[in-house]
């Protein structure tokens, strides 16, 4: 009997298209002998569709036509199992399309990677890969993440977070405060977006104002950090959960602009043949393995795993580091709880194949779900409902409705 894996991708996020690419790569990697892949595409209007055609990324070139070939669905938990149901229901026969044993979200960005989709699965009692609700939410918010890592004693750059509406009301005061806190250049980031959207550098007061106004268009909260001028960026991925972690190879992303941009990440790549399109993060330019001394690499791998545990991540996360080349200080820049392309290229470099990576992620999801449940069924004797008067919590009480 194969395990039914619902691969969920898309969503109302600015990284919608990236997620489609990551998902296509993931679905090609999941072992079809062991798992039955059920693709579930979430449109930008939060409608769910399934269908064989979703596996072939070429079909996404014409979205309306693709959706016509697909079946709109919704999730339902019934008698201990989670099902995908046809919507609208057929006149005769069962609306059930298939049962899902585990969900594999391959989503990036707000509204999906921030715990929304994870919470959705929790409410349907559907085990899912990747971080849980809390880790997802914390990982999506750069300020929360910074506070958590700082609290765990891990090295992060100082920063200042404020409501963008505050800028419009007290811009003079704010700029003054920022200039007194940090030296130029500064980097301005919307607190909860990914893929470098809305991020820009500021080298003086005017560019700072421009940068803030740009970020404010994307998010209600903005994070300002000092820029490490002479820097080297190193990324490392970690696979595991709260009790077991494993680090991948380290890479050095290469950028064409001042910062690693959306263009760099997804539209670069020397090896793109015509018609092949973007290979997601796989096609970004990089030095793999990173050109850093061995002990630095060990340090980074160690910090990556510590950050992973501090944020209570699960599955695969990619931790991005900044190295200040002037004094050798290493800072954690950010943590991606569901990294683009699941960082498969980092794992392949470390000797783990993509299929094996997906297999481990699914097993971790099942393990977490198993630990949530201890007893499977419970049955009550009615007489104990009498004890309601005396403080014992009746049939649905202490030992009653446990999962």
């Amino acid at each position: 009997m194969k395990i039914n894996v619902g691969v969920f991708f898309g969503g109302k996020s600015v990284e919608h298209e990236i997620s489609v690419i990551s998902a296509a790569q993931t679905m090609a990697a999941i072992d079809p002998a062991k798992y039955q892949i059920v693709p579930v595409y979430i449109t930008k209007e939060n409608e769910f569709y399934t269908g064989e055609a979703l596996i072939e990324i070429r079909n996404f070139a014409d979205l309306p036509k693709l959706l016509e070939k697909c079946q709109r669905v919704h999730l339902l938990k019934e008698k201990g199992k989670t099902y995908l149901l046809r919507y609208p229901a057929k006149l005769f026969g069962s609306p059930v399309l298939t049962a899902l044993d585990v969900a594999f979200p391959v989503v990036h960005g707000t509204n999906v990677e921030d715990g929304s989709l994870q919470g959705f699965f929790e409410l349907h009692d559907l085990p899912y890969t990747g971080p849980d609700v809390c880790a997802s939410a914390a990982g999506m918010d750069k300020w929360v993440m910074k506070c958590v890592l700082q609290g765990a004693g891990l090295p992060v750059l100082p920063g200042y977070c404020f409501q963008s509406s505050l800028y419009y009301v007290r811009s003079q005061e704010l700029i003054g405060k920022l200039e007194s806190m940090f030296e130029y250049p500064m980097i301005v980031k919307p607190v909860n977006l990914g893929s470098s959207i809305g991020i820009s550098k500021a080298s003086d007061t005017q560019s700072l104002k421009d940068a803030i106004e740009l970020a404010a268009a994307f998010s209600g909260r903005i994070l300002i950090e000092p820029v490490v001028v002479d820097l080297k960026e190193v990324n490392c991925a970690v696979l595991g959960d709260f009790e077991y972690t494993q680090a991948s190879a380290c890479e050095e992303p290469i950028h064409t602009d001042d910062i690693l941009s959306y263009r760099d990440k997804y539209m670069g790549g020397a090896k793109q043949s015509a018609g092949q399109g973007s290979k997601g993060m796989g096609s970004a330019k990089r030095r793999l393995p990173a050109e850093i001394p061995a002990e630095t690499e060990e340090q980074i791998k160690d910090l990556a795993q510590k950050a992973f545990i501090a944020m209570n991540c699960s599955g695969v996360a990619r931790i991005d580091f900044l190295m200040d080349m002037t004094d050798g200080q290493i800072y954690i820049n950010e943590l991606n709880t569901i990294p683009g392309s699941l960082s498969f290229y980092l794992w392949e470099a470390a000797g783990m194949s993509f299929p094996e990576l997906t297999d481990q992620m699914i097993q971790l999801a099942l393990k977490r779900d198993r630990q949530k449940k201890t007893l499977v069924w419970s049955n009550e004797t009615n007489i104990l409902s009498n004890f309601n008067d005396y403080g014992v919590k009746g049939a649905k009480g202490a030992k009653g409705a446990r999962l």
Binding site: M1, N4, V376, T381, N382, F387, K399
Partner: protein, 538 residues
Amino acid sequence: MALYIALLIISFTFYIWTDLRRHIHMMQLNSYRNERFFDWMKDQKRTEASYVMFGLIIANLTFTKMLAPNIYLLMHATLFLVLRVIRKKQQEKKPLVFTWRVRRLLVTFTVLCTVMFLALCYLFRATVTYDITFLLGIVNLFLPVLLLIANRINQPFEKKIALGFTRDAMERLASSPDLKIVGITGSYGKTSTKYILHQLLSVKYQVLMTPESFNTPMGVVRTIREKLNGTHQIFIVEMGAKNIGDIKEICDIVSPDMGIISSIGEQHLETFKTIENVIETKFELAEAVAAKKGTMFLNYNNEAIRRQKISAPMVRYGVANGKETPQKHYDVWAENLSSGPHGSTFDLCQPGGSRMAFETRLLGPHNVQNILAGAAVAMALGIRLEQLVPAVRRLEPVPHRLQMLKNKGRYQIIDDAFNANPEGAKAAVETLGTFQGFRVLITPGMVELGEKEESLNREFGFQAARHCDYIILVGYNRAKPIKEGALKAGFSEDNIYTAKDIYDALKMADTLADGLKPEEGPMVVLLENDLPDNYLEA
């Protein structure tokens, strides 16, 4: 006139519905076995139905011809309505479940009644108006018998449906060749062992187990069809039995790779008749496992199990009593066992000097045997002993099996409502004895022990006397031997109360709690064995 007949039929159906429902419920509780239903049925007195019949005969013979037909029919319709309204509502512990089978049974019953009714009308050339009530009275009186016949009629069809489901379940099992199947059986301790094994194996594996009271062939089939999916790596099947061949029947469906026999003792003696039959049936599991070259895990503290020789490789587990050299008798054993109100501690030992300390919150020293079984299987499936220590620490009690209820009320409750065997009962009162304070036992006694029921209950009373301060018996007749046993042990009769039913018993417990003096200590109540509705004394 047809209207009035219709009214009468409707009113009559309304009237017999509660009675019919109760009988179907009993049929369901007796697993649709006609012999068992008949055994229950013959003890029921159909007093109300007899009175009704008598009344109808009188009415029919006397003043019927004086009334107009419609009035006559209306009068009887009203009569049935009134009878229904004044009927006492019975409280049900485990309610009737309206399965498809119940619905099919109802249909057949209705058809049968209608056919019988029409046949009687034709035979006695009954006038539809006046004699119809008389015939309705017959249906009412013989309702149980009619249900029995309806059940018998449906049997071949039900068998066919069951066979189809079974075949489907076996196909699903076949489609998961890597699934490891562990069978658990025993006179007692199998459910506790099953829960413990599930929690221990979940340290490393996705485990499915048959739920509470699903330990019959159809229960197992249903578990497979409704719950088994591709993620499961281990399937734990609890196997219950009341007759020879019951275990084999389940083994033929699931083909277990490993098996645990938790105990052999006196349970279900009414159907098994002798202990030899019990032994033979339980060891049907060993035969099935041997056929697959698997391993049996046997409780070697149990004498009946020790005496059996089996062909399959075995792992013998048990609690060492300090007198023998454990390695000679066991492959996995416990030493330094200490039990009390907070659970137990023990060392798990293996040949070669391996020893690891374990701690559990589960009450009762016999649970240590169950933990040994679970640990032995877990180790055989590749889980390291160190990983089991925290898992055993975290073990939660199985609902209604020596389960401590966390309450903020006036007394602590140990819920052992699902236990019903002499060994378990003895262990339960011994556990109660380890508590400080005012210890109360509430029990209706043990059932399904055949001829030995009285003597075993008497012995239970004798044991209980030493470990508690007050005994509340539920039900006058069955619990009488318990009282005799307790008195024989020197227990004071003032400290025994016989309650009418469980609600009455609980009220008494409250009264005791009210009258308790602070120096008498905290009160703790042991609920030993709660019987399902089909055992209520009429």
